[in-house]
Symmetry: C2
Subunit: 275 residues, 2 copies
């Protein structure tokens, strides 16, 4: 028997992956969770039929969503990750020795539990003493913590259903309040190729709240179109022109200091969206 | 009845596209040619089952393979495109007013004929008086023309089967001879995510021939992994540090002057391949 996962990227185009084994399949209180072992990308986390992260390409997303804001902030001590229950962003955040505390606020405890069991390469740092895992609603958590985090990373699923509230102006205002004086916020913000309107409206919402707002792109093979946007909102420091001369060297597979600056140079069709 | 094209990107992962209509399906002397009308990407050219170009994302490939070398050369007058029978590269090349002659050397006349009929948005410039279409073997053509072209663009299919001879050191030596004094060569060189060894060996072959060799990346949704490499070999001018201050403005959807420089900043895993 041959098993293939089929993920519709848009209604009329799909990626399919040959599945060696279904390691987990559970209905949680929030979503349909699966961890599959695939031939092409190794083990992957799939939520509501959408590939979230895979052993073979997770480094792109987790490095870029973490190191861009953490190397932009001059001294990030306290970091909040909203979502990101697989632990990949936390793993990258904790590569920065300035970080004293990294809080993971994930609404679905089952994601954390199963990723700890089946994706240890990604979730490994959740056991680090500097990491605190809080299972609960990110919107409520952000609302209840003012002026507390130097960097907030919104590592959410797509802006439909459960994660809808994590996109848009009212949440970004709460994020702003939750950040310290030189605070920086980053979120994954979908693909401009298939969802130009989402990228446009999310960027515009962030721009209305933050003095500095920038968008960068990264190449993630298992995400629709292979090309993904991230939006950075910052109170003071410009991520594109960050002073990286004194930053430490960390071990990465995608991020480099040169790419940190270059990834903000956008294709014309993306530039036009956020004008 | 629902028709879907399935393209295996590697053995165990595939992209599938819903097909509205098969406009052409022909066995040529060289390959199995199809032009399909798809819902997600519009009309697409498919050779031996591999998507070559589509109405909805062709601009990325054609702009980047053309404008990077043409804006790097201070005064490109004569340009050769090897392969590229769809005419997309020629269309972009002829946006440069300095170009007096653009030769398309395509081995398969049927590709040119069918693209003229079914993909006019891409093939339109093949009728330009500055364009000469030559149906024949690119390797032979390059061998027979010495010191003649300012820019040579190798817009080939993958390095297996018919196009195999268009990759590698012995062809690059012929290309070098075919170029004028300040000549620049560019080729599409596959995806470093799925085919790291190909990228590595092609780059190393080009580096052995050209004083300046650089690799850049572009995000092409219908190509495997969505992330594609191009290798530039140049006799004198460095494409990454090209003087773009006096270049004209042309109408593009992907290329920008800022991106021209930034696209040479590579992810760590790609940088490591060409060290």
């Amino acid at each position: 028997m041959e098993m293939w996962l089929k993920e519709e990227q848009i209604e009329s185009a799909a990626m399919t992956y040959k599945v060696k084994e279904t390691l987990v399949r559970r209905k949680t209180d929030f979503q349909d969770l699966a961890i599959l072992d695939t031939e092409a990308f190794g083990r992957m986390l799939v939520l509501d039929g959408i590939v979230q992260t895979t052993i073979n390409d997770e480094y792109v997303y987790h490095e870029m969503i973490s190191h861009i804001p953490l190397f932009t902030h001059p001294n990030p001590k306290k970091v909040l990750v909203v979502g990101g229950g697989d632990g990949g962003a936390i793993r990258e955040v904790l590569k920065h020795p300035s970080v004293e505390k990294a809080v993971l606020c994930e609404i679905d405890g089952v994601v954390v539990e199963e990723c700890k069991k089946h994706l240890p390469e990604i979730s490994c740092a959740l056991e680090d003493p500097r990491c605190e895992v809080f299972i609960g609603d990110g919107i409520k958590y952000v609302h209840e913590h003012k002026n507390e985090f130097d960097v907030i990373i919104v590592d959410s699923t797509d802006p439909f259903g459960a994660a809808e509230g994590l996109f848009g102006g009212s949440f970004y205002k709460e994020i702003y309040e939750c950040l310290t004086e030189e605070g920086i916020f980053i979120a994954q913000t979908e693909t401009p190729f298939y969802l130009p309107e989402v990228v446009k409206s999310v960027f515009s919402d962030a721009k209305a709240v933050f003095p500095v707002t920038k968008l960068f792109m990264a190449a993630i093979p298992t995400y629709p179109s292979g090309y993904w946007s991230f939006t950075v909102g910052s109170k003071k420091h410009d991520p594109e022109n960050a002073d990286l001369s004194k930053t430490i060297d960390i071990s990465t597979k995608y991020y480099t200091k040169k790419l940190h600056k270059a990834c903000f140079s956008l294709p014309k069709y993306v530039e036009d969206l956020i004008k």
